[in-house]
Amino acid sequence: MSSLDALEECKRRRKTDVDRYYQTVLLTIGLKDFFDNGNFGCRFVSAEPRFKEIESNKEIFPDIVLQYNNDDYGILCEIKTSLPAIDFFLLEELKQLELYSSKVVGWDTPAKEVLDHDLVLLCHALDSDRIVERIKEWTSEGKLKVTKNLCVVEWSIVESLKFDQKDVFLIRPRLGETRCTALNDHLRKNIKIDVDHLFAKYEKCKFVRKEPPLEYMMNQLWSSIFPAMHEITEDFACSIDEILKTTYEYFIPWSGLQGEYSQVRTRWIKKSMKAFCDIDVAKKIEDRPDSYTILYGKQIRKDVSEYFVEKLCRKILRESRKRPITEALEEAQRRLAEFD
């Protein structure tokens, strides 16, 4: 692959990641609305609450939690923005379902428990064929041990005359079922969620718990948060705390079972600030901890999403060229050995 092709491929992938993250946030909002407004015996409990797996005492954060049958039973839903192309990493990602298969607490019941629960894995339609195939293969080979009912569901945004030319999320079952017959019935008929009506909520809820792609976070800071922090288009100094406070003010928290929590994490902001420094649109202030000068007066390309992606891809490719080939090979061999 020529360096130009590599750059284009890198840009394409990173742009897809940004888009997929955006769609995932919309989907989470849409599903919340769907379950909130529907009356079919399966109620939406929370988006991204903190649960605990009893055996290992590990914290888990399912994307959506549903309860049914008078709260005796529950469903943990996991939404996958994009899944790794390499099987080794895909299996690692799906191992999360093993953790969800154990007894978990955190449900919206007095004892924080339910009698039993099922799992729903939502993945993008472009990933679904491969996911279904691999899950079947790995569960039969014992590489993936999912002991609960698992239902794999695909989602995509489509525009169709059938739906009055509207953009809709089309959610369809691909593998397995839950024990909630009402949900199964809805899935069989395909769940349709009007995307247009989600925009107002999206403006206030732009993140899910999963860390956003770097460029997505950078875009949000550049286009929504920095303009809120400084009246005019010129360089200004700010700290991570100040940025965080502004995000708290304008991106409302998701309501979780354990109280409200913020959408944006300090860690994400720190990463973005480092990336801004790497591409020369911010400078670290040496004598002030966690403080930066944002070079907001700097004339950069109008299309900042394209600018950020291109600069970061160039940096990644430059660094990968510097890395000794033997080191990369060794790492690949080690990981493949682990997989086998």
Partner: protein, 354 residues
């Protein structure tokens, strides 16, 4: 101030100023409608000296009573090796300023519009829609009791592509609008030159830019029946753009705007893609394309003139939503909506109830 009659002294002075220009061959009076919520005089006094290459050569206050103020300015600007100089009258009525000059288009473009652009957001450039031009002409024809004909018009199609009428017509102005409406693809009148059937005292050109040129007639008739309606239409629009930023709302609520088009324009994937190009052509902005036309388009925009920020999203197949972010000034929303009319399509703007 709407509806308040123009003092006779002001009318007389402007007519005197105009006379010499109108006598010239192809002479005309050009009027540009601007919006300035602070005193235009103060703005010019305070801000203009800070601008490079433009200076006020002379300034004279002519009238300042009853909410009307009239000044005469002479300004000069160096553009490359050329010096452009000219005079204009500035008539401030409430928050509107009508700049009146008899000088040629380069003076309007390179001096007057340059000042307006440099003083944004304190000064906003007014605009009207094709539908509003139609209403103004209808009313003008009625109250002046004249048969209003058109000689030429410029219409625009989607993406601001121009379509100029060929030749010199002599037909009712309504015919021009009918032609534009019936054209496929549909056109929007961008400017039209109208005159009275008896070719007496009415001959003018009115554009969506809010520019009025008149070749015959007196200032009062145009002020009463064209400039005041422009002011009213723009005031209504400004009211829609007021207090949209989330910092200005209780609980940081969102106050989006809906722009509805009269065709299902976004059914065509090409149009959705081109919308991104239209945003790319917006001066002094940064934008991030988050979702590009599959099927909807979602773009974050920062207006670098005053750091206003908003999201733009296609909504259904016939509408756009502008979702203002933390800060979104009315000057910025006015500028952006004008950009969409000039370079995309004319639609109806309204409040969107969340």
């Amino acid at each position: 101030m709407i509806g308040k009659r123009l003092p006779a002294t002001i009318g007389m002075i402007i007519n005197q100023y105009s006379e010499a220009f109108l006598k010239r061959s192809r002479g005309c009076i050009r009027i540009v409608a601007l919006i300035s919520e602070v005193s235009f005089e103060e703005l010019i006094d305070e801000e203009l000296p800070e601008l490079e290459k433009i200076e006020v050569r002379s300034k004279k206050k002519i009238y300042a009573e009853d909410g009307f103020a009239l000044w005469n300015y002479t300004v000069s600007r160096k553009v490359r090796n050329e010096r452009i100089e000219g005079s204009f009258l500035a008539l401030q009525v409430g928050s509107f300023v009508f700049i009146i000059t008899g000088h040629r288009p380069p003076f309007v473009r390179k001096c007057i519009m340059y000042i307006a652009k440099q003083l944004h957001p304190d000064i906003m450039v007014a605009y009207i829609t094709a539908e509003e031009i139609y209403e103004i002409l209808k009313n003008f024809s009625k109250v002046m009791e004249i048969e209003l004909l058109y000689s030429k018009y410029v219409a625009k199609k989607v993406f601001g592509e121009r379509d100029t009428s060929v030749g010199f017509a002599r037909a009712p102005y309504t015919e021009a609008f009918r032609k534009a409406r019936d054209a496929r693809p549909r056109l929007w009148i961008d400017s039209i030159r109208g005159f009275a059937e008896d070719e007496s005292q009415t001959d003018f050109r009115l554009s969506r830019e809010g520019h009025l040129n008149y070749y015959k007639g007196n200032f009062e008739q145009y002020y009463e029946h064209i400039l005041i309606p422009i002011k009213e239409y723009c005031s209504r629009r400004l009211k829609i753009f007021e207090k949209r930023g989330r910092r200005e709302t209780i609980d940081r609520e969102l106050r989006p705007l809906l722009i509805r088009y009269d065709t299902k324009v976004f059914e065509d994937p090409f149009v959705r893609k081109q919308l991104v190009a239209v945003v790319g052509g917006y001066n002094s902005c940064n934008f991030s394309v988050i979702h590009k036309g599959n099927p909807h388009v979602y773009i974050n925009i920062v207006d670098r003139m005053d750091n206003s920020a908003f999201s733009l999203r296609t909504y259904g197949s016939d509408s756009l939503i502008i979702a203002p972010q933390v800060k979104a000034s009315k000057a910025s929303l006015m500028r952006f909506s004008k950009h969409l009319i000039d370079n995309f399509l004319e639609g109806t703007i309204s409040d969107f109830k969340v």
